[in-house]
Structure formats: C-alpha cells, structure tokens
Amino acid sequence: MSDQNKEKMLELLSDRATFGLSDEEIAELARLEEEFPELNDDSFELAAASIAMLNLETDEPMPAHLRTKIAQDAENYFASRKAEAPAAETSPEKEEFQKTFTLEPRKSIWNWLGWAVAAFACIVLVVNIYRTNKQFEDYAAATTREIERLKQQIPTPTPPSNASREREQLLAKADVLQSTWGDFDAKNPKNIQGDVVWSNSEQKGFVRFRNLPVNDKTKEQYQVWIFDPNQKYPIDGGVFDANEAGEVVIPIDAKIKVLQPTMFAITAEKPGGVVVSPLEKVMAVAKVPA
C-alpha cells in the first residue's frame, strides 16, 4: 500500500507540473504529502518550467502601466507584512469608506516619475534577491526603504501664497459648495476644524484647516481625496504639508474633472502620497450637503 501511495504521489506531482490538479487531486496530494514528506519538492515543476522556457519570448518589454501596478502591489504587500498594528475598530461609516477607498493611479508627472522609478527599483530588487540569495525579510526591508527614499525625492507642490485671497474670490461663485470638516472616527476624535470649498464650474477648490497637526514631511504628508459617484475611485486632490501653526489654506489639485463631489477626505500618507491608501490615518471628512 505504501509503494502504491508513493507511486500515486509521484503521479500527482507529475500531473501538477504538466496539467494541474483538480480539487480532489489536490486534497489527495496533501494527504500523501503527510505520508511522504521527503517526496514533496518542486523538482517536477522546475523540470516543467525548464521545458516551458524553450518557447519563451523575451523581447517584449513590460508595459509601463503594469510596472506601476506591480510597484503598487509591492508597496501594499510589504506594508502588510510590516504592519503590526492591531486592526482598527470599524463602524458602518468606516467600512463604507474603506470599501470605496481604493485610490486611482496618480497622474502628475512627478508622481508618475516617482512610481516609474519605484517600479524599476522593485524589479531590480526582485532580481537582486535571487542573485544574492538574501533572506526574505532583508528583501522586504530593502524594498520598503528604497520606495521610501524614492518618494522623498518627489517634490511637494508649494501652495501659492495668495490661496486665502483666491479662496475668498471663489466663494463668490454661484455654484460653490462649502462643507466643514468632521471626524471620521468618532471614537478617536482629532478635532480638526475648517472647511472645504469647491466650484464645479471653475474646477477649483480649497481646503482650510485649524488644528491640523504640523507634519514631518520626511515621514508623512497629507493627501486630499474627492468622492464623486461618477468615478469608480476617489479622485486624488493632491498632497500638502501643514507647516504652519495657524490656519492653513491649500488649493485642491484635482487630477481629473470632478462632476459631482459628495465628500472630501484628508488622509495622512507616506511622503509623496499613495496610490492605495492603507487608511491608517484618516484625519477628517467633509460631506457635501445633498
């Protein structure tokens, strides 16, 4: 029986490498792996992979947008590995927010450049890990550091000094929307005050804050998000710093046209902003009155 089982396990390993296994076969292989752990290796699949490479065409470069996606995946993956903080308490509002808060790719030239370089760095590091046979944790740490370093090279847009005056002028427009900031998580109030104003006709707006903590831009920056039901994902409204103790007025830098803003949000993110927010720090939200 043992020899039969061993034979069966080799058959399944071979089938897995060439054709894949059904769910039943996967379960059977798992049982046999417990009986013959010494047979459980990758050699069949490695042999099949060697044959598969005979037909491999390598002259097609990876599309830039795919590199960007992979860099994003890398950030998420290694951030999740790194994260040790316990899961935050959830509320219906927070769950809804998180469900929709998958952010679209950033489109400004600086961010594009940053991500392109970050993507390249990730790929280089992937290759490097195999060349040097470093341990996984070293690789994760190196990748995270490299992404952080590259992001810090992305310049932060400097708000114009006349933002307050322009805000006042915008308030005179007929279609201007105005809403005040509130806490996202009532159990963890941040007591940030201020408001957001936005004009669809001008495609222009400003966020204004008091009590927004001054950030260390080498560690984190604030990011504006605009929720619009016409868009699949929240619209990136730009990255900014709260570097003044008093009132802060920042122009919104919407990356695409806003049609129907329903809510604005401010998050604290890694320097340079993020593509997908980990939602670790939602500073404030401002719902637009219906």
Partner: protein, 152 residues
C-alpha cells in the same frame, strides 16, 4: 496561456506577489532564478486556467500535434537550463517528447492531447510522467532519487 491582455496583466501581478511570498524557498543549488520564477509563473497560470475553466482553442490541434518535434532547437533559449531541457527532450522517446511539448509548451490538457494524437488518455499521462522524470533527472533537479526507479 492567458486569454487576453487584461488577463495576462492580472496574472503577472499575481505572479509577482507569489514570487515575493515564495522568495525564501528559492534554492540556487536546485535551479536558476529564471527557472524558479518560471515555475511559480506556470503554477499560477495553471491555477488560473483551471479556475476559469478556459482551454486553449482546439481548432488546430492536429496542426499543433504535427509540429516538428525538435522545435525546441529553433527557440530562443533563455537559460542554461532551457538549453539542457532541450537536450533532455531529445533523449526522450518521441511519444514522450511529443506529449511534454503539447502539455507544457502548448498548454493542452490530457484529453486534448489524446484527441489530437489518438494516444489513449492513460497513456498520455504515463508518457508525460516518465518523460518528466527523465528530464528532471537529466537536469539534476531531483532530490528524491530513491523514488525514481519504480516509476520510469
């Protein structure tokens, strides 16, 4: 092996994540980096194909089956192992070589190979397994030598 550009890009993303997850399993004594990544990529693609219940078109199975069996020699060989694999394939019995090429290179299922070649289904599996065992041994990838004798 993927059906569309979008599917292919999704698969590439998944493969990268798989590579990161499995990085610590890489053993340079057993294979090159390229082969290791190719193995992970194949594993993911096979899973995707099975879950999606997609199959490569069988419109031209006969044409595929009739391709020259030393096609490997004409391909761009991207690694030392690929070259060795080509040599290993040439050492196989013709029917074993044909089955491995149709399954691994062309992505056909057992049944599709059987339909295309007329070889009984059980024999297709046997050819694939015995051929793969020989390739594995030729490439020095086996760490389970004690089990090989009774299966070839």
């Amino acid at each position: 092996m993927s059906a569309s550009q979008e599917d292919a890009e999704d698969a590439v993303q998944e493969i990268f994540v798989d590579v990161w997850k499995n990085a610590q399993r890489f053993d340079e004594a057993q294979s090159s980096e390229t082969t290791f990544i190719a193995m992970i990529a194949r594993r993911r693609l096979i899973d995707r194909l099975r879950y999606a219940k997609r199959r490569i078109s069988t419109d031209s199975l006969e044409d595929i089956a009739a391709e020259p069996q030393n096609r490997a020699d004409q391909q761009l060989q991207t690694s030392i192992e690929a070259k060795d694999a080509a040599r290993a394939l040439q050492l196989l019995r013709p029917e074993q070589r044909q089955v491995l090429q149709l399954s691994i290179v062309q992505g056909l299922s057992h049944q599709e190979i059987s339909d295309a070649t007329g070889i009984p289904l059980g024999t297709v599996k046997t050819h694939a397994r015995r051929g793969l065992l020989q390739v594995r041994e030729f490439l020095g990838m086996s760490s389970i030598g004690e089990a090989k004798g009774g299966t070839a």
